[in-house]
Symmetry: D2
Subunit: 349 residues, 4 copies
Amino acid sequence: MPIKRKMKAAVLHKPLDVRIEEVSVPRPKAGEVLVAMKSIGVCGSDVHFYENGRIGSFVVRKPMILGHESAGEVVKLGPGVKGLKVGDRVAIEPGFPCRRCGFCKTGRYNLCPDVIFYACPPHHGAYCEYQVAAADFAFKLPKNVSYDEGAMVEPLAVGMHACNRAQVGPGDSVAILGAGPIGLVTLQSAKARGATQLIAVDMDANRLKLAKKLGATDLVNASRKDTVKEVKRLTDGTGADVVMETAGAVRTTQQAVGCAKNGGRIVLVGMPTTDSFEMPVIEAIVKEVSISGLFRYANMYPPSIGLVASGAIDVKSMITKKFKLEDVPKALDFALRQGKNAIKILIHV
Amino acid sequence: MPIKRKMKAAVLHKPLDVRIEEVSVPRPKAGEVLVAMKSIGVCGSDVHFYENGRIGSFVVRKPMILGHESAGEVVKLGPGVKGLKVGDRVAIEPGFPCRRCGFCKTGRYNLCPDVIFYACPPHHGAYCEYQVAAADFAFKLPKNVSYDEGAMVEPLAVGMHACNRAQVGPGDSVAILGAGPIGLVTLQSAKARGATQLIAVDMDANRLKLAKKLGATDLVNASRKDTVKEVKRLTDGTGADVVMETAGAVRTTQQAVGCAKNGGRIVLVGMPTTDSFEMPVIEAIVKEVSISGLFRYANMYPPSIGLVASGAIDVKSMITKKFKLEDVPKALDFALRQGKNAIKILIHV
Amino acid sequence: MPIKRKMKAAVLHKPLDVRIEEVSVPRPKAGEVLVAMKSIGVCGSDVHFYENGRIGSFVVRKPMILGHESAGEVVKLGPGVKGLKVGDRVAIEPGFPCRRCGFCKTGRYNLCPDVIFYACPPHHGAYCEYQVAAADFAFKLPKNVSYDEGAMVEPLAVGMHACNRAQVGPGDSVAILGAGPIGLVTLQSAKARGATQLIAVDMDANRLKLAKKLGATDLVNASRKDTVKEVKRLTDGTGADVVMETAGAVRTTQQAVGCAKNGGRIVLVGMPTTDSFEMPVIEAIVKEVSISGLFRYANMYPPSIGLVASGAIDVKSMITKKFKLEDVPKALDFALRQGKNAIKILIHV
Amino acid sequence: MPIKRKMKAAVLHKPLDVRIEEVSVPRPKAGEVLVAMKSIGVCGSDVHFYENGRIGSFVVRKPMILGHESAGEVVKLGPGVKGLKVGDRVAIEPGFPCRRCGFCKTGRYNLCPDVIFYACPPHHGAYCEYQVAAADFAFKLPKNVSYDEGAMVEPLAVGMHACNRAQVGPGDSVAILGAGPIGLVTLQSAKARGATQLIAVDMDANRLKLAKKLGATDLVNASRKDTVKEVKRLTDGTGADVVMETAGAVRTTQQAVGCAKNGGRIVLVGMPTTDSFEMPVIEAIVKEVSISGLFRYANMYPPSIGLVASGAIDVKSMITKKFKLEDVPKALDFALRQGKNAIKILIHV
C-alpha cells in the first residue's frame, strides 16, 4: 500500500485552538521508521499545552501537533534500519536523544540536553496519521498486546522509571499519593517488582476503587482522612519504605516526607504548578530519607511491554474513553473539563 | 498450658541412624523465644547429613537433631523480648549471628563466622517438639499463611537471596537450571521481582510441569535437548540476562556461562559434590559475566513472608508429602530413596 | 594501674552551666570496654546543647556529660570481650544500637530507633575521664594515628557517610557548601573516593584557604560571588555531579539544587535551624536530582581510620585549639563566642 | 597546514611481519575527527597479534595496522562535530559502538556486538600518522597531561573499569595478582577510590618495586611465597575484600578465590591462554564471593584523565621505553623478546 504524501493531523495553533489539518507526511531518515499511528493517548501535558499553550519554559510558538503516547504499524524503513520490517506492530518511545553526550553514553538519555521529544515544542507529536520514530525506539508488540496497550506503555514507562529511581524491591511498603493514570501505573510497577504493601491515596472514591482492582492493598481517602497519619497507621507507625508522589500537588509533595519511614525513599513523579514552596527539610534530614526527582524515563519500554504481555500489569482497565483522530479537539475539551472522571482517553486513527 | 521438661526429638546418631528420643526442652535465653514446632521441612542437606553424617567440613560428631525449615507457635518468652507474645504463629529463621562482626554490622550476617545455625553441627535443629529462636528471627505469620507455608519460607529465602545477589529486575530473562525445590522458589522469586521470561530447565518432566504451573514461560527438558542451545534459542540468540544454577551438578554449573548473555549475571545456588572442576573461564571473561556464590541468606524472611501472603509466591503447590515427627526416620528414608519424585516433604508435629 | 571509682566529668546542668564534678566511673557490661579518655572533640551539637539545653526534640532534662568525638585507651574489658585488650589505643564510635531491629540487621544501625548515643539526652557523653563503649565500636588505632586524630574520626565518619549516600566516585565534580569542620571532612572524603573537582564554598577566607590546603581545586567566596553562578561557571555550565550542603543554612540548602547537574546527587549534611522552608521543588524534579538526608553514619569508622592512617585524609590540620578537661566550660564558651575562627577544638584528658 | 593524502603506517601482514608502508589518510565521517597521532602504546594484544596473527577468534586475515592506545592532535573535523576544534590535544578511546543496541543505550557500550575497535580485525589501529575517532570518544587533555600520558589512558581505563566492576570503595583491602601494566593501573585505580590496603603480587622484584612506588602497601613475591597464604596473613586471616587477577595465568586465576574474603569480589582482568580449566567452585560458593569478567571498559576516559591530571594516578612512571613510528617492527620485537623487563613501551610519531 503506497503511503500518502499528505495526512490528517490535529494541530495546536494557540490555547484552546486545535485544528484538524492536512500536513505533509514526514520521511524517515537513516535509522528511522515511518509508523502509521493506530492509538495515541491523551496525557496531562497535552491538555496543559492545549489549555495554556505552554508548560513552564516550553512554549508553543508555532503550530504544533500534540500527542506522545503512541503505537502503530511500521509502514516504511529509513536507510540502514535493521530489526524491524514493514507491518511490524510497535509502541513508540517518543524521543530522539543525541546518543553522544555523557548522559546518553551512561544510559541516562532522558537527561540528554539535545533530546527531541514528540509534542515538546517545537517538535511535532503523534495526533496524526504518520510519524517517524528512531528504529531502536520503536518496540515490537507481542501478539497479545494491543495497540491501545502499546500507547499506554508511555505512561507506564514513567511509573517504571519512578520505581527504578526508588529501587522498589520485594517486600517493600509503598505509599502512592494520587491515583490518577501515573499513580496507577506506578502502583502496578511497584507491585510487579515485589512490593507487598501498596497504599493508594486519593480524594476520589472511584479512582481508589480502580486502584484496589489494580493491586492496592490499602486505600486512603484523603478527603476524609489525614494522609500522613493513615499511612503511618497502616505501616505499624513507621511510615512506608517508599513514597511515590504522583498527584502533583503542593500538599501531597509536602506530605511525602511525613509518609516515609526513616531511611525511606521518596520519588516526586508529579509536577506541582508552583515552582518553589515550603518543604519539611529538617524532617527529611533527620529521617535520612532521599527525595528524587524524575524526568521522563530511559530504557523502560522493554520491561514495560514485557510486564503488560505477561499480564503482571493491566493497563487496559485504565482506558476509559476513546475518540477518533478527527475528534482530537473534542477529546482535549473533554479531558480539560471532565478529566477527573476519566483515567485515560485514547485517540484512535 | 505448662511446657513439658522433656520432649520427643529425631536424633541423628550416625549415618542412616536417626532415633526418636526423649531430650530436654531447651530454655530461651535473653532475647530468645521458645517455639512449639508445628511444621518442619526436609531439606537436601538434612538428607545429606542422614546419608553421610557430614557435608564437606561440617561433620556430625555427636548426636544431633536435624531440621532447619520450621514454623511453630511461640510458647515462652526469654527475658527482654518485645514484639512477640505467647501464642504468636511464627516462621523461624534458623540462625543466631554474633551481631558484632563486620558482616553482621553491614547487613550480611549470613557470612558471620560465629553464626550458630539449626542442624549445623554441633547445633541441634528442629525435628523436635520445641526449639529456641532469636526473637527477632521469629517472624509472625499473617493469618492467611499456614505453618506449612511458614516452614517453606526457609527454602524460599534462599531463592530470594539468589535473586537479590543477581539483582533480578523487571523485564529480565532468567534461566533456572534445575526445577527442584530451590529451583522452583528461585523461579518464583524472580517472577515476583518482575522477570518476564522464566526458562525452567530440568531432566524430569513432572518437575517441569510444576515449574510451568508456578510461572515458567519456557521449559527445556535437558534429557532431550542441549541446554545452552535451547536457552540461546529462546532468547533470540543472546542468552539470558540471569542464570540461576540450582541443580548442583558439575555439568549445569559449567553450562551456566554458556546460557548467559554478554554482561549477564550468574548465581551458583546449588552445591556440586565435586570441589573443583573445569570452568569455561575465558568465555566468562570475554562475555563480562559475573558469577556469584551464595551462602544461605540475610534479611529475606520479611519479604518472603510478604510475597507468600500476597499470593505472589505459591509454596503450597510444592508440598508433596507429609510425615509425623515420629516418622522422621521414614521421611528421611523416603527422601533418600524416592526424593526425586517428591518436591518438598514436611514433618508435622 | 587500678581504676578509680570516681572521676572528673564536665556536666551540663542547664544552658551555659557546665560544671566540673566528681561522678562514678561507669562499669563495662558484657561486650563492652572501659576506655580512659585521651582526646575529645567539641562538636557544634555540644555547643548547641551548651547554649540552649536542647536540640530540636532532644532536651537535656537532667545533668548530662557532653562530648561524643573521642579516643582513648582501653583500661578494662567487660565479660565476653574478644579482639581488644587492656592498653589498646582506640577511637570510639559513640553509639550502642539495639542490634535486633530491621535497621540494625540491614546495616543501617544509625537509624535504629533504640540506639543509645553519647551526649544525646539522657545518655552521658565523653567529657570525662572514663567512658564505656561497645567493644565492637572501639576501633584500634594504628601506631601512626594519634589520639587527637582518633577523636577526629567521628566528624570524619559523617563526611564519609555523606559521600557514601551520594556514591561519590572517580572523576566526579563535587561542590561543598560550607568549609567548616564537616565541610572539610566531606571534601576530603570525596577526594579520597576519586572526585577530581572539589569546589569549596564559604564566606570566610581563612576557611577557604584551609579547604585549598586539604584538596579543594576551586574556591568560591560566597560573600562576594553568587554561589550557584560560580559553581555553574566552574563546571562548564552544567553544575556539579554532587552537591554537599554542610553549612546548615537555609540559603545554602536552597542553593544546593541550583548547583547540581541534571541527574546530580545532593546530600544535606548540615542542619538548618528552621524546620520547614521554601525549596525549589520543580527545579529538583525536572533536573532529576536526588536530595538525601543524612543521620550520623554507620560502618564508617574502619575506612575513616584507614584513610587517616594512609595519609589520604589529613585531620590534623583541622585541629586549631586544645583545652584541658578542667577547662571544658572555657572551651565551650570559646566555641560559642569565637567558634567561627576555630575549625576544631579538642579536649585533652 | 594541509593534511597529506598519504601517510606512513606500520602494517601487520602476517605473524612477525610488520612493514612500514604508505597508505591513504582516512577521512572523518559525520561526527568524527581526524587526529594526528603523537603517542601510541604497545599493548600485550598488539604483541600477541604480531606473534600469532590472531587472538582467539579474532584473526588477522588481511593487512592491518596495529595499535589502540593513542593520543594526538585534532587536525580535521567531520561534518556536525561540536565541542572539539582543530588543534585540540586529545586521548582517543578507540571504539565506535553502534549507539543503538540495548548495551549502548544502557551505558555498557563495551558489550555492543557491532562495535568497531582499533586494531581488532579487520579494523585498522593507530600505529600510523593519522586516524579517525568518534568526536565524543576523543577527550581533550588538560594542559598538564602529556600525549604520552594520554596514550596511557587506554590501559588505565581497563584498571578503572575493573575497580568499577568490583565497586572498590574506601577502606577496602585489594589484592592485585600481577604487577604488569594492567596490574599497576588497577592498583592505582583502587587507591584512587580509597582502598587502603593494596597488596601487589608478582614474581618479578622490579615490578614489585614499581608497585610499591605507585602505592602498594604490601608486596608478595610469588616466586618465593605462597600467594594465598601471604594474602591471608596480610589481611588478618580473612582474605582481601577485592581480588584483581591481572596476570592472566591459570594459576593466579585459581588462586584468586583463595585470596578473597568471604563475600569478597574478584575481577578477572587478565586473559589466560587456556579456555577452560579447573576452578575451586565450591570454595567460591560457600564464601559467597562474586567473580566478574571484564571486557574493555565504558565511560572510563573522563575519570581516568581527571585522576591523571590531579596527580592521583601516575602513569608516567610506567613508561620505560620509546620508539619512533618507523621502528614499530623493532618495538614489537623488543616487546616480544624482552617485554617482561619493560612495563610500557610507547611509539612516538
